[in-house]
Symmetry: C3
């Protein structure tokens, strides 16, 4: 008995570390867009967070390799690690696009999407924090992630709709359309992680 529970808890600890790291990335993205005084420096900081995420993901997979007993299905541990990894990847991809496209000033809608991403990451972090404890609390945070994804979808759609009404330069239009879509995809990845967490709850109910 002794030794098993601490090992299981190690997985929960790693997932908590991973999701706290993602929230840090989302916080940096929101800060980057709110201030935009040194976007290159912000993007580099987000890239560092993304690398830290890769290292944690790698550790989780390594640990999975060596564990006979896991707190929930091996495949789900693998899927959850991948989904969390996708979240930080999309936050990084969003930040990169502001540099790649030489954006001068983020729009209000971009800032709004960055704020929704931060809230989604915080909700995923809360859901993950209940992995070792009361599974029933996970579901409510997943519902929150779903609602935020719907909200991001609406903001993104309205931003793109306005872009087609107002932006006459097609190259600017292409850039901004992709920026909005990348930010929105970050919230899709939060929803994917929430869906996996929900299915873990379902399986272990």
């Amino acid at each position: 008995m002794f030794g098993l529970i601490p090992k299981e808890e190690k997985f929960f600890t790693m997932f908590k570390e991973m999701s706290a790291n993602i929230t840090e990335g989302a916080r940096l993205l929101k800060e980057m867009l709110d201030n935009f005084d040194d976007p290159q420096a912000s993007q580099r900081r987000i890239k560092d967070v993304e690398h830290r995420g890769d290292a944690i993901t790698h550790d989780i997979i390594q640990k999975l390799n060596k564990s006979f007993i896991t707190p929930f299905d091996r495949e789900d541990i693998y899927s959850l690690a991948s989904a969390l990894d996708d979240m930080i990847d999309l936050i990084d991809a969003s930040a990169i696009r502001f540099i790649m496209y030489n954006v001068e000033k983020p729009t209000a809608e971009a800032k709004e999407l960055a704020f929704i991403i931060l809230q989604s990451c915080q909700a995923v972090e809360k859901a993950v924090s209940h992995l070792g404890g009361k599974f029933e609390h996970i579901a409510e945070h997943c519902v929150e992630v779903n609602a935020l994804e719907n909200e991001a979808d609406r903001v993104c759609r309205e931003a793109i709709s306005r872009l087609f009404d107002e932006e006459k330069d097609p190259i600017q239009l292409i850039k901004w359309k992709e920026i909005y879509e990348t930010l929105e995809r970050a919230t899709d990845k939060c929803e994917d992680a929430a869906n996996i967490l929900e299915s873990v709850v379902v399986k272990n109910a």
Copy 2:
């Protein structure tokens, strides 16, 4: 014994309800593009169908939470519910784009794609209708969905190719390219659902 079979059948009934609802959405999309007299009203009706889909998906997941015995793997019930949900989401996303981009008149290719989507949804509905019965019939409808997806792929590719040859306004080109791609992605989602149905057949063969 008593009580178990009815419960299992409840899942099949819910999946049938879900796929009938999707076909209704696809029928409305085809009608919207064929007439296009009041696209806003059509889009709202499709959105209602999408909301009904969300409710059914939610019921399936709730039922899964409370069921000890399921007619096939819990994970597959979960995946199938998600895939069906994605189908109606993409039908809705297609309809939205005609409003969002202020389309004046749908092209012949867009109408053709809407018709292929309707046929794919009908094939998925037929496959789902065999879930409680003869699993071997499922495979043939899945083959049909795959063929329709290939057809949609070809129509989409030719439409985009023609667009690049003929459309000189880059903003119109961007709009139509995305409309064709969204319609085509709806058939991809039908194929994803068909693939899950096929793997259910494989596992339960």
Copy 3:
């Protein structure tokens, strides 16, 4: 005992055949872009390879249907077959775009991406070749696929960044942006296959 092992080995043989076929497709794509003397003919050859891939995928699924015993989880066999199928689909989709968009001359970056795709397919082929043998060798080739995907990501990002700096014709910009993204997605599909192979290792460790 007798009879079972040969049957298991049949799956490995089919996966090896499948991945060798993909490498052939990637080799043809690289050749197409390097020479570009008759792109239509090259594209048709790649399409033939893609059709052969469909046939092998179909055989794997058929075999899965009839097998009581499989060398690893049925679901993983199914997922791996799908992932390999996606790889050749994206190689085909890349080739098609050069025809569809009437490209006159491939860029250096497109050629570089085709070379990375070839290397990724070769690494996946090597990983697959160890399926029947030493599972621990699979992981190292998967690491290679991951590194190549990062490299493709960087090349694609720089190519698109340069495109926005230099290309003044928005329609050309749209074409090339999508060509680079499609090539990059081919390496994403290699990574997806590598991830499935890694999870097979994890489960069977």
